[in-house]
Assembly symmetry: C2
């Protein structure tokens, strides 16, 4: 019996969500799910996923490929012809790094797997407060998807979508990760590069600012740490 | 500008849903989406999809592969070790041919594609009334998913999930298909076989009964037409 399916991209947020899930599981098994969607840093994220799963000794892993999201495109993360912009966290509109409705795909896979293996919870490390403002990272979206999952699975399945980071600031996520001993040095957050993080995209900027505000040194390598961060 | 994305498995129901979508589009373009999920008759269904799309001259097609549903298993359609049972429409529980939460995957792909190409509608030929009783074929599931899609896409996207067959009996679907000139002879519904339909699974039985009640001859070949139908 597996307690929870944990969506683990390999980034900072999902690694901390995984640490929380494992703690809440209290010794019961968790299953880790990774999804490749044709994003620029696909191979680097998968490497981070496996390193984190190895760190925690999690055996039950599923790697799903939904490369049709690349075919569908419409995002700088999946379409190489759209450049990943330099960070601008004062922006009010939805940035071009938004991958249309991506989290619904991730949750669908997690819920199907959870239903089959008997897990009652799905963890996702989405952040609404201190984020790029993607619509599919909002709490009301997850609540609504949970309802759809209740109606679209066998009666009594009752899978809960858990979003422990949804209202946390990045600095609080870093602190929580440190507190739980999460392997932050094994994570990868950069949207653009895979050897050294670019230090300039939204994701790098949010991460760097979070570490700085938490008073913790970010252990991963950067090509350039953006002054604004 | 594309008016609608139509989910087309290649079965009777989705072909009639496509005919309705094209009629409602009134000359505007529709895009056809097919999803392989590691089901037994995957190649046969894809052949039916392309034949129907050719029949209608639809150029905009997307074929997505979500073979992780086979890896996840838990269904006689995706796990060869679970036999497809003979039809039993008096059954009250959910049959083993149910693919856990499958329609959420299909809708997620359709909504992502619709958002990118600017389509405001997604058609799915799901049937609640005269069916095998899958939870993800219920109208309340689709209503709920539509709400999740509204919250999980860019504000103002407003994609509607259209289920024109949801309350139709199979015989009414056959009649509607004939009325609209849908290419019923190009469709494939059997869960089990790909040369001749088995005539004995739930899907064959529902189809045969629908044609019989509609007073129409089913144009596809059967190995054996189950007496109960």
């Amino acid at each position: 019996m597996v307690k929870a399916v944990v969506l683990l991209s390999g980034g900072l947020d999902s690694a901390v969500a995984a640490a929380i899930a494992l703690k809440e599981a209290g010794g019961m098994e968790c299953a880790f799910l990774h999804v490749n969607y044709g994003q620029r840093t696909e191979a680097r994220e998968l490497k981070a996923f496996n390193a984190i799963a190895d760190f925690y000794g999690v055996k039950k892993r599923l790697i799903a490929d939904i490369s049709h999201l690349k075919e569908i495109g419409g995002s700088a993360l999946t379409d190489e012809s759209i450049e990943v912009p330099e960070a601008d966290l004062s922006r009010k509109d939805i940035p071009v790094t938004y991958v249309p409705f991506r989290n619904a795909h991730l949750l669908s896979i997690a819920v199907s797997w959870a239903e089959v293996i008997g897990a009652r919870e799905v963890y996702i490390g989405a952040v609404e407060e201190d984020s790029s403002g993607y619509p599919d990272c909002r709490e009301e979206f997850f609540k609504s998807f949970e309802k759809a999952a209740e109606l679209g699975t066998r009666p009594g399945t009752g899978i809960r979508i858990k979003t422990p980071l949804i209202h946390m600031r990045k600095s609080a996520i870093v602190k929580k990760g440190v507190e739980l001993g999460a392997p932050l040095g094994l994570t990868w957050s950069c949207y653009k590069d895979s050897q050294e993080a670019c230090g300039q995209c939204d994701s790098c900027l949010l991460r760097l600012r979070g570490f700085r505000e938490a008073g913790v040194v970010d252990p991963i390598p950067y090509r350039k740490k953006e002054a604004k961060a």
